[in-house]
Symmetry: C2
Subunit: 362 residues, 2 copies
Amino acid sequence: MTKKSDIHAVIMAGGSGTRFWPLSRRRTPKQFLPMVSDRTMVEETARRIRPLVPNERIYTIANGAQTRILRRLLPGVPARNLLAEPKGKNTAPSLILATAWVYLKNQEGVVVVLPSDHLITDNAAFLKKIEAAAAAARGEDALITFGIPPTFPSTGFGYIHYRKGGARMYAGEPFFGVKAFKEKPSQEIARSFFRSGDYFWNSGMFIWRASVFARKMERFAPDFFPYWRRMLEALKAGSRARLAAVFEDIPALSIDYALMEKAGGVLVSEGNFGWSDVGAWSALAEIWARDGAGNAVKGDSVVLDSRNVLCYNPGKLTVLVGLQDLVIVDTKDALLVCRMDLDQKVKEVLEILKKKGKKEYL
Amino acid sequence: MTKKSDIHAVIMAGGSGTRFWPLSRRRTPKQFLPMVSDRTMVEETARRIRPLVPNERIYTIANGAQTRILRRLLPGVPARNLLAEPKGKNTAPSLILATAWVYLKNQEGVVVVLPSDHLITDNAAFLKKIEAAAAAARGEDALITFGIPPTFPSTGFGYIHYRKGGARMYAGEPFFGVKAFKEKPSQEIARSFFRSGDYFWNSGMFIWRASVFARKMERFAPDFFPYWRRMLEALKAGSRARLAAVFEDIPALSIDYALMEKAGGVLVSEGNFGWSDVGAWSALAEIWARDGAGNAVKGDSVVLDSRNVLCYNPGKLTVLVGLQDLVIVDTKDALLVCRMDLDQKVKEVLEILKKKGKKEYL
């Protein structure tokens, strides 16, 4: 693996999830937690890309408080690379800021956008794909993304409709033309997407040359282009106040909605590298090491007559007797015991807590 | 209710249970825990008898460490009444000591022996029975006990075979002659006891005059009688060392085995005052306040789609989703989640922990 000097990795470390409550809270979303290994997911994301990209060209984008956490988690990454959004405004503003920062260093630099809350199990395949995508980004006047081959008709992901014929080849990997980005579908539509074989899940991973990003924005997202210019100027001037002013004004839209869906010439490659969005506690039952009865327990434990129990309770003893299909999560101030297939109800619980005024648990 | 000056209540506060693990531990058995109310069971036991017996005639018997806890829990009881066994040796030595202590004050004093790990829900009926039993103890040359009308063919209790005819009446209450004390029976024998209607469960509650206890011991437990005399002498001399020496020598037997089973003229009265031995977590499901779906949760909670769940987790938030028939107990260092009907397996768990050398959890 060669470290190509034009690849810049932007780790998206913002966002606040609630699906891993009570472990994840407003201030510690899952990317800052050791959900799939002993390291936080942000650390895993940085480790994963390092064979291709040195710390000096790894960037993060998150809010101010999260950036302080990132400084601790990623001590090798230069502090100036830890970009703090003045205000949380969805992914389009974040990625305009991060890409502008790269643009100022190297207009032809390749930006690899990596969400930090996903699991990738086949690192070698992942790095090979990134190298191929970087080659495609260099060779094409195109924004590039990875699509995940769907394993079931999910209504929880956006979809990418792609053209099977006429793929462009880079480093032996096909890059397909994108026909359309589709929002999260209904169950019926999800089924038809799944059956057709013409759709990927939208992974939220992107690769582009900074200059191509700028040109695409100018042409396909003219409403956003002025903010790109203002950010570039604020960064050149080193003015936090001006950057904050842009973030006040810029609409809070996702990069999919603001640019990808509108841009011509988007290419997609298959993200067949063991991807999982680790969307809820039950997803971890597939990921954590399990005993012969399918129990995955983090922490000291005695387990009797139980199967398919996922338990997170490090630093304490857990005793499970006669259980089946449960998620159990114990933290300092809250305990969750939940039937495995109802783990999405945690959202409902948080609504109830909010209504009760119990903000300390959110 | 008059406070008869001859009634002395001896609260049995020793013993170490494991059935309420992880809440109960070697050092804090259930009598020192608020299992059925906001007060510990020892405090409840003292409160229950106080309408009849002032603090000055309430005694406790327990080991040294437990006695220090009792001093805190029962501040009104004179410190000299908190009797510390030099060594844990089952109930016969404890009750010989406590009765000897009363004997020295008042040979004809009535001793009421109260276990501190039982629940009694009908206090008025209980006090009425105690008054009647005290009258019987004064009027008869007999050891007296309460028998609990069995509600199912339990193999977990000893039984008392009683004679229905020829009951002696005191304060309108019948006191039946005891034919035999029976050890915990097999399932088959338990069924025949239950069907016959001639058996009570052995409650472990006793009432006797100190002088009668001494005479019965001399006659029916001649092996034990010398220890009675030595204890009296040690107490008279105020010699801890001599008391300790008796406890070194005395056999570790239950009062049932050492005396009650052998003594003639034992009387039993029906303990129909809402007794429960609170024998395991699942027993509390019948005792604690429950919501409409049968969930009993101690502590702040959000409960969705769950029924018949018993949860003890005060001071923390508990969220239960989609559960049924579970016991959940969360403490500082250990969490138990157990199918309701398997709560007796906690003993097995403790054996495993012991074998693993994890003594900190016992």
